[in-house]
């Protein structure tokens, strides 16, 4: 018999392994393994191509894995960047207080009040589009909730006796942030980074799908999906189905990793 804790750890390990496997496999796939096989176009799923083939005979499984790994790398970049912003702003707001705190709180409310997809599209266009645009767009819209969580936590630590004592010992904000505050918020930062990830990849894919994200020659999932739309009416359902399902599966998997880490570290925190 294994306990709940062991099951949670097992689930985290298995999903993390899958995650790493897709990431590595996708990175190893070279452009030339996506060879065009014009004698075998639009092959339905089964036999030699379990995800089927596309309009020039490329294997959809290979394309999906490659697309996923690209989306996952972008998602990782965006969630790590969002967490860093959340860490800096969430710690600075309560420690510096006054106008800084008011401004950061206002900024959180402001960003939360704009619809995400719209904001990502606008920022992405303003930043010149492409990879850089989408990363800045997704990051700029995904730091807010975690910043709130961190800020609330830091406000409590700021009022703790040991923090007040530290100030009486002559320690400044930087020391207090690094030594007193940071050890307390690392769990939230880790969980936050993992839980931002599913939002980040789904937003990247949908904005790319709408044509405002990655350019059409990139092998991203969003690009594959928008291409597939052309063939959907002629019954080539597998072109969109497998890449779409895989993307959703990856984001649910990472969401589960996040929730499980949360359960392991602290049963009380209810973040999202």
């Amino acid at each position: 018999m294994i306990g709940i804790r062991e099951k949670t750890i097992l689930s985290i390990s298995v999903f993390s392994f899958f995650f790493a496997a897709i990431l590595i496999a996708g990175s190893l796939i070279k452009e030339d393994s996506l060879y065009v096989e014009l004698s075998n176009i639009f092959a339905p799923p089964g036999g030699g191509h379990i995800f089927g083939t596309d309009w020039v005979g490329r294997d959809m499984l290979v394309r999906t894995v490659k697309g996923l790994s690209l989306s996952m790398k972008i998602g990782l970049l965006c969630s790590v960047a969002s967490s860093l912003i959340a860490m800096v702003l969430g710690v600075a707001a309560p420690l510096l207080g006054g106008k800084v705190d008011i401004f950061i709180s206002w900024l959180i409310d402001f960003v939360l009040s704009i619809p995400h997809t719209l904001a990502i599209i606008l920022i992405s266009i303003a930043c010149g589009g492409g990879l850089q645009g989408i990363v800045i767009g997704v990051t700029a819209t995904h730091w807010t909730s975690l910043t709130r969580v961190i800020r609330a936590e830091v406000m409590q630590i700021r009022e703790a006796e040991y923090t007040k004592l530290s100030r009486r010992f002559g320690k400044g904000n930087l020391f207090i942030a690094k030594e007193h505050v940071l050890p307390h918020i690392i769990p939230q930062l880790v969980i936050g980074t993992v839980l931002i990830f599913p939002h980040a990849i789904l937003h990247e894919a949908s904005v790319t799908f709408l044509g405002f994200g990655l350019p059409a020659h990139e092998p991203a999932i969003g690009v594959i999906l928008s291409e597939s739309m052309k063939y959907l009416t002629s019954g080539k359902w597998w072109l969109a189905f497998f890449p779409g399902i895989s993307l959703i599966a990856v984001s649910m998997m990472v969401n589960s990793i996040g929730k499980n880490i949360e359960r392991l570290i602290d049963p009380k925190t209810a973040y999202r």
């Binding site: 703790a160 006796e161 040991y162 923090t163 007040k164 004592l165 530290s166 009486r168 010992f169 002559g170 320690k171 030594e179 007193h180 050890p183 307390h184």
Partner: protein
């Protein structure tokens, strides 16, 4: 040196005044007891002296000069509950070193065992933790010490050991000590004079 609280008035928010025109003073090397019934503002006065609270009016001075709010505060407060006064994510060695690493003799006199230095706060009892909090405050830069019910939670033997060491250190380094306590026998035993807070108001 002389620590002076002059005409201190204080209240939390818009509530009634906890302290009204309070005058209080302690000299270097002096041990002064401060007593009053519960809720009369002893802790509040201690926090004002040590710079945790700003008085609504009046001022706290050392030899006539106001105390700078930046840098090491020469008046250090020791809280009643040591478990709140140490960061639970710090090992005890780091807790001690936040001011300056105390000498081996001081650690021994305080009854701090070497093995405790590598423990987490949660692995020590209240009495053991309080020894750390007291030792941490006994730095070269501390000129006045406010002991707010410092040993109330502790057993008699621990209490005696801590007070012996603190008073010895204070005598040697000419530190002025304010002892806030309900324990009348303790006050009579260790204090040069005892002040009732209710008699401090103008």
């Amino acid at each position: 040196m002389r620590l002076n609280a002059e005409n201190i008035s204080f209240r939390y928010g818009e509530e009634r005044y906890i302290l009204k025109d309070v005058n209080f003073s302690v000299g270097s090397g002096e041990v002064v007891g401060l007593t009053a019934p519960s809720g009369f503002g002893k802790t509040t006065l201690g926090k004002i002296l040590a710079g945790y609270q700003r008085p609504e009016s009046g001022r706290v001075t050392i030899d006539g000069a106001e105390i700078k709010s930046k840098g090491y505060h020469p008046v250090q407060l020791i809280f009643q509950h040591p478990e709140k006064a140490v960061n639970p994510k710090w090992k005890m060695r780091k807790v001690l070193a936040e001011t300056e690493m105390p000498s081996r003799e001081l650690l021994e006199a305080m009854g701090i065992q070497n093995g405790w230095l590598d423990r987490w706060p949660s692995e020590l009892s209240g009495g053991e933790l309080q020894r750390f909090c007291v030792t941490r405050a006994l730095s070269e830069k501390t000129k006045f010490l406010i002991a707010d019910e410092m040993t109330t939670m502790l057993d008699a033997i621990t209490q005696a050991q801590i007070w012996n060491t603190v008073l010895g250190y204070a005598r040697l380094h000419k530190i002025g000590v304010v002892v806030i306590s309900h324990d009348q026998p303790l006050l009579e035993r260790i204090c040069d004079r005892i002040v009732n807070l209710t008699a401090c108001s103008g």
